[in-house]
């Protein structure tokens, strides 16, 4: 294996000190001279209503109030908090039906927490007091909490642009019969020896990032709109704000603050439009907008819930001859990522096994929930819960070992990936399955738990997954990077890739050091400044290391090339004759002929004219490498997960005993960060399977908008957790790396569900699998 200087080493993360000391400055920590506070007044008592009357007169007279703003006071275009419109060509966007159906303040409340008006005041207290004096009269409208309700012909229309409240279905122009797939599913299914089929429910899961949303916006005296935000997509927010307020991009600045977790919650815009709209109303004054946790909950995006039907046909030898599926999701009140999840949910399905034929329908309907958007996995968790349970049911019918079946039928190198036509360049899933099975003691435990009696029952389950590294070719994947060498031979790496806590900037710094041949500490990553950073599509689809890292590598190689070209000139040789050690460039075989990188860089900047000769003393010009990088693949990572659970058959309580998550990561740039990402993902995946769901009363009011009643797994709920990094360098990823950001959440979902099946012989088809559902299922089954 190649010897690297920094790649593959778990050096301390560059932001670790500021994070653990609490000195990191998040947007909520920032204070500016003359700063005002913006309070968004939200509709809390209705999930669907029309505003009949809005009276701001009393609020406006409250002490400390600077301005009150209703829907008619806002001069901004309607918008879409998602970003898919930036990621596809306009005709494709039109075909997909992407629309901009959001406004800063609304007169048609589409979910609890929709924004009605805003108060700008000298203090947060004054803004809150005034907010209490806003008088709103509502006309309640029927509340739709499922697609089946909102699709009814007499239902109130969320927008005239989406008749029947169907926000999205796969467009027929791109997908014949509105379905993704291949082959003749009907024929293959009819010819199948047996089928497994069910309709599952997948829950509305919240990202639960630690930092609630917070912003400062300023329309400054120079006529520039500035926004401080912890978005995970600064450049997308940059252009979206410019379009929304009819400003050229040169008059909009987005400054990215320290991000306290993303997981998709900050994919696109959230409160930036509101904060900026308020700032536009008070030019020259910064306006700070802080979301409470509950606001974050009811007014920002979460995972798409819904009903997920799937049918798989098998031949006697176990071949999966056909898969047919429909994921009908509940969109929430606005379109946002309307087309994205409904599509990708099927792509993860198509990419996993060697289906003889495949047909996936994805559609989403408006409902009166908080809008659904991006959440780690982007449809993959939903598919894993459904597909992997049905595969397990089939293995049970076939009487085959679930690990062996998966090894036989999963796709691999050369097969079409999630996007037909783009093949898998690498796959180490078999090794993941083998090492994971060995680590948990698969064979022994499957046998040991086969015939249990008694109150407590144990089970082990397996699940596999594929994900992606960037969304090429479906979506635009583009990152630009500038690598500027300072005169002391250190480097400034400028790019707009986000570090959301996942350690991306540390890994990018490692990539830069390796590619330049400099020391890790010689590198500084300059990100988060839309003025100085070039284009980057933002942190989505687990792309930051695969695409951003490749951009860094390419820009650094560009800089290094120039460095070597100049060294060759100084040493009067060809670049091929040169090597660099400790930042000194040597002519090979002549150790006395060398020049330091520092001297080349310094002479490029301090390029004086020699008084005696009148000549310049070296080669002028500060070295800058540049890359505008577009990948040619998406090198999906694979994983196999094994879970062991114990179920109390008298109470339905489930205890997680052990989880082994074996991941094909290509090459781990920073192994500790990769493990951390996968462990965090496992925590969220197990939460999806067992405890996490936002739920509503019949009026659409959220019943668990805080951590008191929305239950994530805490430290004491976590099982023994083993993460296995299977390193099989990808031929296309930078230094062989594939993604690890989202992947960890996916396979634990199916593994836990399948462990339940193994323990009880019963499948629970509605997530989360709570004690209540387990006990009910046992009862329905007449015991276990």
């Amino acid at each position: 294996m190649t010897a690297y200087s920094t790649i593959g080493k778990s050096i301390p993360k560059i932001d670790v000190k500021e994070k653990v000391t609490g000195r990191a400055l998040y947007a909520a920590d920032l204070k500016m001279p003359g700063m005002l506070y913006g309070k968004i007044v939200r509709c809390l008592d209705h999930a669907h209503a029309r505003v009949l009357k809005l009276d701001l007169s009393v609020a406006a007279k409250m002490p400390g109030v600077v301005k009150v703003l209703g829907p008619d006071d806002i001069k901004a275009h309607s918008y879409n908090t998602g970003v898919l419109d930036l990621m596809v060509p306009e005709p494709v966007g039109k075909m997909l039906g992407d629309i901009e159906d959001q406004t800063v303040f609304t007169k048609h409340v589409k979910h609890q927490g929709d924004a009605i008006c805003g108060i700008i005041a000298h203090s947060e207290e004054a803004a809150e007091r005034a907010a209490e004096k806003v008088i709103v009269e509502y006309e309640p409208l029927p509340v739709y909490l499922t697609a089946e309700e909102s699709m009814q012909p007499d239902a109130v229309q969320f927008t005239s642009l989406k008749p029947g409240n169907r926000a999205f279905q796969l467009p027929g122009e791109m997908f014949p019969n509105n379905a993704y797939g291949w082959g003749n599913v009907d024929e293959a299914m009819a010819a199948a020896d047996f089928v497994v089929e069910d309709t599952f429910y997948v829950p509305k899961q919240k990202q639960c990032q630690m930092e609630p949303h917070a912003y400062i916006a300023l329309f400054d005296d120079g006529g520039r709109l500035q926004c401080w935000t912890s978005t995970q997509m600064p450049k997308c927010v940059h252009i979206k704000l410019a379009r929304m307020f009819d400003l050229p991009m040169s008059r909009v600045t987005v400054t990215q603050t320290v991000i306290g977790g993303g997981f998709g919650a900050r994919l696109g815009m959230i409160g930036e439009p509101l904060a900026c709209a308020m700032a536009m109303a008070v030019p020259g004054r910064p306006v700070k907008v802080l979301y409470t946790r509950e606001e974050d909950w009811i007014a920002s995006e979460s995972r798409h819930p819904g009903k997920y039907w799937m049918k798989i046909g098998f031949s006697k030898d176990g071949a999966p001859v056909a898969v047919d599926a429909l994921f009908r999701s509940y969109k929430g009140g606005y379109y946002t990522q309307g087309s994205g999840v409904a599509f990708t949910t099927g792509s993860w399905l198509g990419g996993m096994y060697k289906w003889g034929s495949c047909r996936y329908h994805g559609e989403t309907y408006y409902t009166n929930h908080a809008p659904c958007g991006a959440y780690r996995g982007y449809g993959n968790p939903q598919t894993n819960f459904v597909m992997e349970q049905l595969v397990e049911r089939a293995c049970s019918k076939l009487g085959v070992d679930p690990v062996e079946w998966r090894k036989k039928w999963h796709k691999g190198v050369g097969d079409d990936g999630w996007c037909p036509g783009v093949t898998y360049p690498s796959c180490a899933l078999d090794e993941c399955l083998d090492r994971g099975a060995a680590a948990i003691g698969w064979t022994e435990k499957r046998a040991k738990y086969a015939n249990q009696t008694g109150v407590k029952r144990r089970g082990v389950g397996v699940s596999v997954m594929n994900h992606t590294s960037g969304a090429f070719p479906m979506l635009l994947e583009h990152t630009t990077c500038t690598a500027r060498l300072n005169e002391d031979a250190t480097a400034e790496i400028m790019l707009a890739c986000s570090d959301m806590g996942q350690g991306a900037h540390t890994a990018l710094q490692q990539i830069a050091a390796e590619a330049l041949g400099f020391r890790f500490e010689d590198i500084h990553i300059k990100a988060g400044d839309s003025d100085s950073n070039g284009f980057d599509i933002g942190a989505h689809a687990s792309r930051t290391i695969y695409v951003g890292g490749a951009a860094v590598k390419s820009a650094c190689e560009d800089a290094r090339k120039e460095l070597f070209a100049r060294a060759a000139q100084y040493l009067e040789c060809t670049v091929e004759q040169l090597t660099m050690r400790d930042k000194i460039i040597y002519l090979e075989g002549a150790s006395n002929r060398s020049i330091s990188a520092q001297e080349i860089c310094a002479r490029g900047v301090y390029n004086f004219v020699d008084a005696a000769s009148g000549q310049r003393t070296g080669i002028p010009g500060q070295i800058q490498g540049y890359s505008s990088f577009l990948p040619t693949s998406n090198s999906p990572p694979f994983a196999a997960c094994f879970a062991e659970v114990e179920i109390d058959t008298e109470t339905g309580e489930l205890t997680l005993i052990e989880l082994v998550n074996a991941h094909d990561v290509g090459k781990a740039i920073h192994p500790a960060s990769v493990e951390g990402n996968l462990e965090g993902g496992a925590q969220q995946g197990m939460g999806f399977a067992l405890t996490e769901e936002i739920y509503y009363d019949k009026n659409g009011l959220c019943l668990n908008n805080s951590f008191t009643d929305y239950k994530m797994l805490g430290p004491s709920d976590m099982p023994k957790l083993t993460t296995i990094l299977v390193e099989n360098p990808d031929p296309l990823g930078p230094f062989g790396a594939k993604s690890a950001g989202e992947a960890g959440i996916v396979a634990p979902i199916g593994a836990v569900a399948n462990a339940v099946f193994h323990a009880l012989g019963i499948q629970i088809i509605e997530a989360p699998i709570t004690a209540e559902k387990i006990l009910e299922a046992i009862k329905k089954n007449g015991g276990v």
Binding site: L290, T292, N704, L713, G714, T770, A771, L775, E776
Partner: protein, 288 residues
């Protein structure tokens, strides 16, 4: 919707108990009394309003935790759940309370929350409350007119309503000394480990040889207050407790509880597992 901004209130900081009682006699029901603050402050951020908040923090001598074989346990108004958890005496003599304290909320909350605060919150899901009800004992209430003791059985009047009068401070909880054959236990069911109970139960049994002489059984989340289970208790008293006897509780308890559907569970589930939890709690108390 909660807020980072507390509503307007006047903070009262009495220096001693006498001053505190005087303030209460003057302002009475307009005062929210704050000990650990883990309920009051959270409620205030969620729009609970009280013209006055009286902190007990400045009053000395209220954080005692005294144990004596003759008099039993005395728990002060400012004694935290963590103090209970750290106490060897509580662990040895009042196992149910100790177990409740170890499971209660999170370490951070246990450092601040008080046992008496848990009683005063009068939530049917209170873990320490459930243990205290099984253990028996009294709450000492003091006003400018003097002291009175209210048995824990009479302390909760309804959901979020106690026998404390607005001019009184609950200064102490007294638990009787355990007898020779006394054992107790606390158990609960939750969604995750760090959670409010969806069902909790506690038992105190006085066993003589193999015969159960007295039984105090308490259950929470099955009615407006944490409650005793007298019919189940009656089944145990005078008998040797074995599996067959315990199994009969599954049916009997059904007529003693009235659970509802709420955020944490369903009435159906609570009914289905109430007997299981009770049986296990009793078995655990027998093993104490």
């Amino acid at each position: 919707m909660s807020s980072r901004v507390l509503p307007d209130f006047e903070l009262l900081m009495p220096k001693d108990l006498g001053e505190g009682l005087q303030l209460l006699s003057r302002h009475g029901s307009d005062v929210a009394i704050m000990a650990g603050g883990t309920d009051v402050l959270v409620m205030m951020k969620a729009n609970y309003r009280s013209p006055y908040v009286m902190s007990l923090a400045g009053i000395g001598g209220l954080d005692h935790l005294d144990w004596a074989p003759e008099t039993g346990l005395r728990v002060g108004a400012l004694t935290t759940v963590d103090q209970i958890e750290q106490s060897g005496a509580v662990k040895q003599h009042y196992r149910a309370l100790w177990q409740a304290a170890t499971l209660f909320a999170t370490p951070q909350i246990r450092n601040s929350a008080t046992v008496i605060g848990n009683l005063l919150r009068a939530s049917p899901a209170g873990d320490c409350s459930c243990a205290v009800l099984a253990l028996g004992g009294t709450v000492v209430l003091e006003s400018v007119d003097g002291r009175r003791e209210v048995a824990i059985d009479d302390f909760w009047l309804d959901y979020n309503l106690t026998a404390r009068r607005p001019d009184e401070i609950a200064v102490e909880l007294r638990l009787p000394p355990p007898g020779k054959g006394t054992g107790s236990a606390f158990r609960r069911l939750t969604r995750t480990h760090e959670d409010l109970a969806k069902l909790n139960a506690s038992a105190r049994l006085d066993v003589d040889g193999k015969i159960c002489r007295t039984a105090r059984l308490a259950m929470g989340c099955v009615g407006p207050t944490t409650q005793r289970l007298p019919k189940c208790e009656a089944i145990l008293v005078g008998k040797a407790i074995d599996e067959a006897l315990l199994k009969t509780l599954d049916d009997v308890i059904q007529s003693e509880i009235a659970p509802i559907d709420d955020k944490r569970s369903t009435a159906e589930y609570r009914r289905a597992v109430a007997g299981v939890l009770l049986r296990r709690t009793i078995s655990q108390a027998l093993a104490d």
